[in-house]
Amino acid sequence: MNATKKAVTIYVPRDSTAVSLGADEVAAAITAEAARIGIDVELIRNSSRGMFWLEPLVEVATDAGRIGYGPVQPEDVASLFATGLTHGGEHPLSLHLVEEISYLKNQERLTFARAGITDPVNLADYRAHDGYKGLSNALAMEPAAIIAAVTDSGLRGRGGAAFPAGIKWKTVSGAEGEQKYIVCNGDEGDSGTFADRMVCEGDPFVLIEGMTIAGVAVGATRGYIYLRCEYPYGERALNEAIKAAYAANWLGANIQGSGKHFDLEVRMGAGAYICGEETSLLESLEGKRGMVRFKPPLPAIKGLFGCPTVINNVITLASVPIILDKGSEHYKNFGVGRSRGTLPVQLAGNIKHGGLVEKAFGVSLRDLLYTFGGGALSGRPIRTVQVGGPLGAYIPDSQFDLPLDYEAYAKLNNMVGHGGITVFDDTVDMAEQARFSMEFCATESCGKCTPCRIGSTRGMEVIDRLVAGDQPVKQEALLRDLCDTMLAGSLCALGGMAPFPVLSALNHFPEDFQKSSQQQTPRVRVAS
């Protein structure tokens, strides 16, 4: 081999969505083909840029920048090499400079600045891309100043409730307790969301850094990441990164000679949606059934094992390092009203360009669905989108111009939640969707409150009778009544918000609940 000739660097994502579309097979094919034709290749398993319709997206480093090809299948690999993959040659799958792709170029990537660029579990790569700058700054600051920076940035919890992160931290910092904890909520149970998964798999160090900053700020020396068991790829990446961080003294005792101590561990959930609710999550971490606790006391005062606990979502914690690196002003300058910074929006379901769009608050749904998303995957009209997971309302086209902003959404009983947008085309049956919301609530209820536990099953039955045309006026009144009872009589948002998708379907798409009079198509309904 020519000693002066450098190996070509080729990137193939290890992100699980890319893997679900064949990225591992593509990586193997590249290694095999390179060996066959005698080309020296350095294959890096980066994470995804979040342009999932282009996955597996293969990139090659050239003098001009990183050139992309996608979606690549193993059988394309030989022709890619033949047309000059190693120097970014033209090919039918060419995407040219990846960073110039408009989907990516028109985003404001703060939390996801490194997504798809670095090797997720390579600490040196993380540091070469601004990693650990935030913590380095924090270690030189007074804890109160760290908390003030987070408060001033306007960062609100990204897990759904949008509570200001700095205020929560301040409460924990002021609470009495020998031991305090930082708990990361990585349960991400909402359908249509995958931003937490992308952080865990694609940039785990940013989460580790954010949690360490939180620990230093409030005086907590132990942290847990509660990750849902449906995310085995995330578990592996997080554990690799935690091991590397310990080895380089970014975790453990006397971090980088600062005298600060922080230990971190990943704990896996066990397939219960309710364990995303913070008090249920704490019960689960303690080794119990995930029953929701009454509040007060707040977890900030009496949380994990009865100790003061910060519990924040993955994205909330992963947004902290850049705030401590670039300053709260920088972060706060993005956004509108009281919704500051950026939101990693997830485009899911029936959408042509599904993936991650990190944008400053204020962007409209229409922009997200059509400019970024490219419309429905099926090519049919988009009829509705469900925003904010299974407890979020179904939003009709007439509201697509609403700006993404917590307060503007709440005004219409809609929910930004964790930023998941699930798209449906005009073949959707909204009565079926409403019924599923009730079924989901019945399956996942922790069982503590009667309206949630029993009401949801009654809800399914009432919707069945309504759709069958059995005394529809009476059934609709009954359904609305039931929703009121659930709204008012539930301890947490599972029972308390499940009525939102149901009522929004009923209010915006009443015709779907009256079909029995018009047509008699038998529906396949499969009970679980």
Partner: protein, 173 residues
């Protein structure tokens, strides 16, 4: 409390006599316990460890785990039954987790679900007669941009059509 009801219903039993655990299973459970029992809140990690080693959490593992953690059998049983992930019956050779959630529904998930059940001839939580597949529902696998989604023994698959399902499993109706 549920604890006492359960205790009342189960008369004291001699574990050594009634346990159907094989020597190998017992050894695996004890190894998991030795490794994890001192963790704070150790029960979930232990149940994961046992299920990973044996494919399920055998009913007779309950008293062993309970004793080691100083919990009642009812408490351990209550935790196992609360979480969808844990199973007490031996699964088939391969475990399929099929996503039933909204983003997958939006791209044909309901039709795929019907196909999967028909071609395997089983419902959720069941195992095929030849012992090859166990089918479980999942409520989102985080693969919502490229559904319908399926996990086969922990390996994620996207854009699963009926055809792709048949190719992945080698099952035809």
């Amino acid at each position: 409390m549920a604890t006492s009801t359960f205790e009342r219903r189960s008369p004291p039993i001699k574990l050594a006599e009634l346990s159907s655990l094989s020597a190998a299973d017992s050894a695996a459970i004890n190894a998991v316990l030795a490794r994890l029992k001192n963790l704070p809140g150790a029960l979930l990690p232990i149940l994961h460890g046992v299920q990973e080693a044996l494919g399920h959490v055998p009913k007779d593992a309950v008293p062993v785990i309970a004793k080691s953690l100083n919990l009642s059998r009812a408490e351990v049983h209550g935790v196992i039954s609360f979480y969808h992930w844990y199973r007490t019956e031996k699964p088939g050779e391969h475990v399929l987790h099929l996503c039933r959630a909204e983003a997958c529904q939006a791209v044909g998930g309901r039709a795929l679900e019907a196909h999967v059940k028909a071609s395997l001839g089983i419902d959720f939580h069941e195992t095929t007669a030849d012992g090859r597949y166990t089918l479980e529902p999942a409520y989102c696998l985080g693969n919502c941009a490229v559904g319908p989604s399926l996990m086969i023994d922990g390996a994620l698959k996207g854009r699963v059509t009926a055809d792709r399902f048949d190719r992945l499993t080698g099952v035809t109706a």
